[in-house]
C-alpha cells in the first residue's frame, strides 16, 4: 500500500508541476489542483497508513493512542483542503479578470512573441 500511495503522490505531483510550468492559465489552475491533491496526500501520509481505525474516541475509559490513526495530519489536511479551495477560487477569478483585461489567457498577460 505504501509503495502504491507514494507512487500515486509522485505521479500527481509530477503532473501538477508539469502543468504549473505551462503557459496557459487554465493549465496552471488544473496543475495547482493536482499539486494540492498530491501535497495533501503527502501530509496525510506523514501520519502513516492505518486501516479501519478512525480517530473517534470511546466515551470515557482508557485511550490507547497507538490503536488510532494520527489525528494531527488529518486536522492539517482538513484545513489545507478548505484553503486550497479558496485559492483555486481566487486564482480562477484572477484568471478571468486578466483574460478580460488583456484579451489573452497567457499567464503573462501577453503572448510570447508580442
Amino acid at each position: 500500500m505504501e509503495l502504491v500511495l507514494s507512487l500515486a503522490i509522485g505521479i500527481m505531483a509530477a503532473s501538477g508541476v508539469w502543468l504549473l510550468l505551462r503557459p496557459r492559465t487554465f493549465q496552471v489552475i488544473v496543475g495547482l489542483c493536482l499539486l494540492s491533491y498530491a501535497v495533501n496526500l503527502f501530509i496525510f501520509s506523514m501520519g502513516r497508513l492505518t486501516v479501519g481505525a478512525p480517530p473517534i474516541m470511546p466515551k470515557g475509559g482508557f485511550v490507547n493512542p497507538v490503536a488510532y490513526a494520527d489525528p494531527v495530519p488529518q486536522a492539517l489536511v482538513l484545513t489545507a483542503i478548505v484553503i486550497s479551495f479558496a485559492t483555486t477560487a481566487l486564482f480562477l477569478v484572477v484568471m478571468l479578470a486578466s483574460r478580460g483585461l488583456t484579451g489573452t489567457d497567457h499567464v503573462d498577460g501577453k503572448e510570447r512573441d508580442q
Binding site: M1, E2, L3, L5, S6, A8, I9, G10, I11, M12, A13, A14, S15, G16, V17, L19, L21, P23, R24, F26, I29, V30, L34, Y37, F42, S45, G47, R48, T50, V51, P54, I56, M57, P58, V63, P65, A69, D70, P71, V72, Q74, A75, V77, L78, T79, V82, I83, F85, A86, T87, T88, L92, V93, V94, L96, R99, G100, D105, V107, D108
Partner: protein, 963 residues
C-alpha cells in the same frame, strides 16, 4: 509619590500638548502659541519643583511596566545632568514659541507647526529622562522623525523637502547603529537599565565586543550632532523655519548626540580608542566647521557651520573625559545653546525684515535696527569668546583642558594648536557676521525696507543676551550650582565643588584667546573683500562637498543599483519564476534530505498489506492525473472531468485510511471546485489544436525541459513519502489530542475537537482567510469585463438546441428542486454530529452551499433570486462575529481567548447531545463557509446574467436606431 507623578507628567505633557495643538483650527495663531507656551512653561514649573531633591544629589525614578515579558519597561530617571538639560530644552522652547508666534506668517498652517514642535520637545524630554537604553533609542528616533517633519514644514519648497529627507536618512541610519550598539551593550551587561549599564564600565571595556559597540555608538552620536564627516545634513536642515533652526539645530536636538557622549564618557571612555575617535573627530569638526563658516555667504549657513564647529568642541571635551573636561562640556552645551539660539533668532529677524539672508547684499543695518544690532553684536561676541560673556568662560576651560597633559599621544600634544587655529577662524567669522551685516554703507538693493521687528519678536533675543551677560559676569551666582549638580551626576558624587572664575591670572588659555582675537580680526580685515567675492565655501575644498558624495551615494543605492539588480534578476514572465521556484525547492530538499533518501539497510519497519482494489483504484487515479495534464491545453472540459476523477480517488484514499472527515470534506469541496471551474470555462478563449504553433523545435525543447523538472520533483516527492511512511511513527502531540479529546474537549471526533477546540485559534484565522478570499473574489468580479468574443450567446444556447435543452433539463431540475430540503437536513445532520462523528462546520457549510448551488443550476438566476433571498456577505459577517464572540466569551469567565467549555446535555427524544461552546464556534465556521462559498459561486454565475443584460440593452438600442 508626588515626585514620581511629576516626572510622568513632565514626559507626557508635551505629547498631550501636541495632540491639543493638532486639533486647533488652521488659523488659530494665538491659541496654538498659547497652548504650546503654557505646556512648556508648565514643564518648567515641574522642573522647579524637582530642583530641591535633585540638587541634594538624589536620583528620582519612576517605573511604568510596559511589556514585562520582554523586559521592556518605561523607567524614567531625573538626575542633575538630565534636570539641567531638560531645563535648557524647555526654557529655550518657551522663547522659541514666543518668537515663532511673530515669525510665522498669517498663511502658514500653524497648528501643525506647534504640534510638531511639542512632539519634538516630548521626544527630547523622553530621551533625556529615559532610564532604559532601548527606550532611549526609541525617543532618539522619535526626535529624528519629528525633526524631519519640522525641517519639511514648508513642504512646498524643494530645498525643505530635500533637507528634511537628508537629515532623516543620516540621523536615522545613525539611530539604527545606536540601536545595535545598545542591544549589544545590553547583552554585555545583562540588563538594559541605564543605571546598570553606566555602572558596568569595567565589564564593557574589557569585553571583546567593546570596539564594535564603540564604533556603532559613535556613529549614532556623531550623525546626530553633525560631526565630521556626517556634518553635511545640518546646513541642509537650515531650510527649516528659523525658530526650528534656533531650537533644534543649535540648542537641543544636535545636542542629543553630545548629551549621549557626555553621559557615556565615564562608562565607554577612558581608553585610547575612545580618545582618538572622539577627541580626534571633535577637533577635526571644530576646525573644519570654523573654516567653512567663514566662507559662507548665507547668514544661517554661517551659523550652521559655526554650530557644527562648537559641537566639535564639546565632542572633543567629551573625548578627553577628565573631570574638568566634563564640566567644561556641560557648561559649553548651555552657553552655546543660549548665544546660538539668540543669534539664529537675530538672523531670522534680519531675514524677516529685509527679505534676504545673503551677506553680500546686507550692509549697514545698524542704522535701521539699532536694538537688534546691539543684541546680535553681544551674542556674536559671546560666540567669538570675548571676555565678560559666557562663551569666553567655557572656551577658556576648553583651552585649559587642551593645554593640560592627558596621555602624551601626538593628538594630545597637538590639541592647543588645533584649538587656537579653530578659535582664530571662529573670531574671524563672528567679526564678518557683524561687520558685513550691521556696518558699512547702507544696503541699496534689499527686497524689503529694513526696520526693527515687533517688540515681542525681539524679547526672546533680549532675554537670551541678558543671560549671556549674566553668566559671563557672575558665573558662580548663576549657572555655577546647577552645573556642579549636573557634573556630579555624570562623574560621580565625590566630585569636589568646581568654581568657575572669570580671572585665572595670566596663563596659556588667556594668551591663546588673545592670539585668536587678534589674528582672527586681522584675517577678516585682510581678506574681507576676497571672501565676499569668492564661492560659497573655502578655496579649493569647496568643490569637494560631503553633500555631493551623499547625493551620489543615494542615487546609486536607491535608483541605479536596484534597477541594475532588477534588470539582472527580474523577469516579468511567470514561467521562469515558477520554474526557478520549483527548481529551488527540488534542490534544497534534495541537498538536505540526500542522506535520508538513500536506501534503508535494515528491514522496513512498517508496511500495510497490499489490497489489489487499492492498486486498481490508483491505476485509474494516476491515469486521470496524467490525462488531465495532457488534455488541459486543448480539451479543457475533458481535463476538468479527469481532474475530478483524480480528486475522487484522493477522497477514497482518505476514507480507506481512517480519515472519514477528510473524505467527506474532500468530496464536497471537489463538487464545489468542479462547478466553479465549469462556470469559469465559459469566459476562456477558444483554443484549437490546428492553429497551434508549438510543433516547432524550441517549443519541444521547452516542453522536454519542463518534463524533466516535473519528473524529478514527482520522483523526489514519491521517494520522500515512501521513506517516511515505512518508518515507525514517533509518539507526538497527536497522542495527547487522542487521549484528551473526550475529557478536555467534550467530543469523540478528535479531528473536529482539534479544529474547533484545541487549535480553534488557527481555525479562526483560517475562516478569516476564507472570508477575505470571498470578498476579494466578489470585488474583482464587480468590475469584471469579459473579452469581446466571450460576451455573445454561447453556441449551445443558439437556435433549435436551446428549446431541446430546456426539455432535457426538465426532469433533472425537478429532482434538484426536491433535493433542496433533503440537503438542508443532511447539512444539519453533518453539523450536529460533527463533534462526535465525522462531519462538522466545514462540511455542513459546504453542503448547504451545494444545496443552494443546485437551485441555481436547476433554474436560471432570475428565477431563483426571485424566490430565495441570499445575503452571503451577511452570512460571512455573522459567522465571523459568532466565532469571534465565542472567543471573547471566554474572557468574561476569566479564561484566555477561545477557551472552550464542554458538557453533554440530555435533550428529550434525541438523547445525550454534546453541548460544548466549541459547537457555537463551529456554528460560526458553518455560517462563514456557507457565505463565502455561495458568494464566490454566485459572483461568477452573475457574470452571465450581466452579459445577457448587456446584450438585451444593445438589442434595444439597435431596435430604436432602426425605427
Amino acid at each position: 509619590m508626588i515626585e514620581q507623578n511629576l516626572i510622568l507628567i513632565l514626559v507626557l505633557l508635551p505629547f498631550l500638548g501636541a495632540l491639543a495643538a493638532a486639533t486647533l483650527p488652521v488659523n488659530a495663531h494665538n491659541a496654538a502659541a498659547w497652548v504650546s507656551g503654557l505646556v512648556l512653561a508648565g514643564g518648567l514649573v515641574i522642573l522647579a519643583m524637582l530642583h530641591a531633591p535633585v540638587s541634594e544629589g538624589r536620583v528620582l525614578r519612576v517605573f511604568v511596566q510596559w511589556v514585562p515579558s520582554l523586559r521592556l519597561n518605561l523607567p524614567f530617571r531625573v538626575d542633575g545632568f538630565a534636570w539641567f538639560f531638560v531645563t535648557l530644552v524647555l526654557s529655550i522652547g518657551v522663547l522659541v514659541v514666543i518668537y515663532a508666534r511673530y515669525y510665522l506668517s498669517r498663511t502658514d498652517p500653524v497648528p501643525r507647526f506647534y504640534s510638531f514642535l511639542l512632539a519634538f520637545t516630548g521626544a527630547m524630554v523622553g530621551l533625556l529622562l529615559s532610564g532604559n537604553i532601548l527606550m532611549l533609542v526609541v525617543f532618539w528616533e522619535l526626535t529624528s522623525i519629528t525633526s524631519f517633519l519640522l525641517i519639511g514644514y514648508w513642504n512646498q519648497s524643494q530645498a525643505a523637502r530635500d533637507g528634511a529627507r537628508m537629515a532623516l536618512i543620516v540621523t536615522a541610519v545613525g539611530g539604527l547603529c545606536l540601536l545595535v550598539a545598545m542591544l549589544v551593550l545590553g547583552q554585555i551587561v545583562g540588563a538594559y537599565d541605564l543605571d546598570r549599564v553606566l555602572a558596568s564600565g569595567d565589564v564593557i571595556r574589557a569585553h571583546p565586543l567593546y570596539p564594535l559597540v564603540l564604533v556603532l555608538f559613535l556613529i549614532g552620536a556623531f550623525t546626530k550632532s553633525a560631526q565630521f564627516p556626517f556634518h553635511f545634513w545640518l546646513p541642509g536642515a537650515m531650510a527649516a523655519p528659523t525658530p526650528v533652526s534656533a531650537f533644534l539645530h543649535s540648542a537641543t536636538m544636535v545636542k542629543a548626540g553630545v548629551f549621549l557622549l557626555v553621559r557615556f564618557s565615564p562608562t565607554l571612555g577612558g581608553t585610547e580608542l575612545w580618545f582618538f575617535a572622539v577627541t580626534g573627530t571633535g577637533m577635526a569638526t571644530l576646525l573644519i566647521g570654523a573654516v567653512i563658516a567663514l566662507f559662507r555667504h548665507d547668514l544661517k549657513g554661517l551659523l550652521a557651520y559655526s554650530t557644527i564647529s562648537h559641537l566639535g568642541l564639546i565632542t572633543a571635551l567629551a573625548g578627553i573625559g577628565s573631570t574638568g573636561a566634563i564640566v567644561a562640556a556641560i557648561f559649553h552645551i548651555a552657553n552655546h545653546a543660549v548665544f546660538k539660539a539668540s543669534l539664529f533668532m537675530a538672523a531670522g529677524i534680519i531675514d524677516h525684515e529685509t527679505g534676504t539672508r545673503d551677506m553680500r547684499k546686507l550692509s549697514g543695518l545698524f542704522r535701521a535696527m539699532p536694538f537688534t544690532g546691539t543684541l546680535a553684536i553681544v551674542a556674536s561676541a559671546a560666540m567669538a569668546g570675548v571676555p565678560l560673556l559666557n562663551g569666553f568662560l567655557s572656551k577658556e576651560m576648553f583651552f585649559a583642558e587642551a593645554v593640560d597633559w592627558h596621555n602624551g599621544t601626538w593628538l594630545d600634544n597637538s590639541l592647543p594648536y588645533i584649538a587656537t587655529a579653530a578659535s582664530i577662524f571662529s573670531v574671524a567669522y563672528s567679526v564678518r557676521f557683524i561687520a558685513t551685516v550691521f556696518f558699512g554703507p547702507p544696503a541699496s538693493d534689499l527686497p524689503k525696507q529694513a526696520h526693527e521687528p515687533s517688540p515681542w519678536m525681539r524679547r526672546p533675543v533680549e532675554l537670551l543676551v541678558f543671560v549671556c551677560l549674566a553668566v559671563g559676569i557672575f558665573p558662580g551666582l548663576t549657572l555655577g550650582p546647577v552645573l556642579n549638580d549636573a557634573a556630579r551626576a555624570v562623574v560621580g558624587a565625590d566630585l569636589p565643588h568646581q568654581d568657575i572664575a572669570i580671572w585665572h591670572g595670566l596663563n596659556w588659555p588667556l594668551y591663546m584667546s588673545l592670539i585668536a582675537m587678534a589674528v582672527g580680526t586681522l584675517i577678516y580685515i585682510v581678506f574681507a573683500r576676497r571672501i565676499s567675492a569668492g564661492p560659497e565655501g573655502p578655496p579649493v575644498i569647496w568643490r569637494v562637498r560631503a553633500q555631493r558624495i551623499y547625493e551620489k551615494l543615494l542615487l546609486e543605492l536607491t535608483w541605479k543599483l536596484p534597477r541594475r539588480l532588477h534588470g539582472f534578476f527580474g523577469t516579468e514572465r511567470l514561467q521562469p519564476q515558477l520554474r526557478l521556484l520549483v527548481l529551488l525547492a527540488v534542490v534544497c530538499l534534495g541537498v538536505t534530505l540526500w542522506g535520508a533518501l538513500s536506501p534503508v539497510q535494515k528491514p522496513l519497519a512498517r508496511t500495510t498489506a497490499l489490497n489489489p482494489a487499492f492498486l486498481l483504484m490508483w491505476g485509474v487515479g494516476a491515469a486521470c492525473a496524467i490525462g488531465a495534464a495532457w488534455q488541459a491545453k486543448y480539451h479543457r472540459f475533458a481535463a476538468l472531468v479527469l481532474l475530478g476523477g483524480a480528486g475522487l480517488v484522493t477522497c477514497l484514499t482518505f476514507a480507506w485510511f481512517s480519515a472519514p472527515d477528510l473524505a467527506v470534506t474532500q468530496l464536497l469541496v471537489e463538487i464545489v471546485t468542479t462547478v466553479l471551474l465549469l462556470l469559469g470555462l465559459r469566459w476562456l478563449p477558444r483554443r484549437r489544436e490546428e492553429i497551434a504553433a508549438d510543433k516547432l523545435l524550441p517549443a519541444k525543447i521547452r516542453r522536454g525541459r519542463d518534463l524533466v523538472i516535473a519528473l524529478v520533483s514527482g520522483a523526489g516527492l514519491a521517494a520522500l513519502s515512501y521513506v517516511v511512511m515505512t518508518r515507525p511513527l514517533i509518539p507526538n502531540v497527536g497522542d495527547w489530542f487522542l487521549r484528551n479529546a473526550y475529557y478536555e474537549g467534550g467530543g469523540t471526533n478528535t479531528v473536529n475537537v482539534i479544529l474547533v477546540d484545541f487549535r480553534a485559534f488557527d481555525t479562526f484565522g483560517e475562516i478569516t482567510v476564507l472570508a477575505i478570499v470571498g470578498l476579494t473574489v466578489y470585488a474583482l468580479l464587480r468590475r469584471f469585463r469579459p473579452a469581446a468574443e466571450s460576451s455573445g450567446v454561447p453556441d449551445q444556447q443558439k437556435g433549435e438546441v436551446t428549446v431541446a435543452l430546456k426539455d432535457y433539463m426538465l426532469v433533472p431540475s425537478a429532482i434538484m428542486r426536491w433535493m433542496f430540503p433533503v440537503l438542508i437536513v443532511i447539512s444539519a445532520y453533518l453539523f450536529f454530529r460533527g463533534h462526535d462523528l465525522p462531519g462538522g462546520g466545514f462540511s455542513s457549510g459546504v453542503t448547504l452551499a451545494i444545496a443552494l448551488l443546485l437551485q441555481y443550476i436547476a433554474s436560471n438566476v432570475r428565477w431563483i433570486e426571485a424566490r430565495i433571498v441570499i445575503l452571503p456577505i451577511r452570512w460571512m459577517g455573522i459567522g465571523l462575529l459568532i466565532a469571534g464572540a465565542t472567543g471573547v466569551g471566554a474572557w468574561l469567565v476569566g479564561y484566555p481567548f477561545l477557551t472552550a467549555h464542554a458538557q453533554y446535555v440530555d435533550v428529550p427524544l434525541i438523547g445525550k447531545v454534546p453541548a460544548a461552546t466549541a459547537l457555537i464556534f463551529d456554528l460560526g465556521v458553518f455560517a462563514l463557509v456557507v457565505g463565502a462559498t455561495v458568494l464566490m459561486l454566485i459572483a461568477i454565475a452573475h457574470q452571465s446574467l450581466r452579459s445577457a443584460r448587456q446584450r438585451e440593452q444593445e438589442a434595444e438600442a439597435d431596435k430604436k436606431e432602426a425605427l
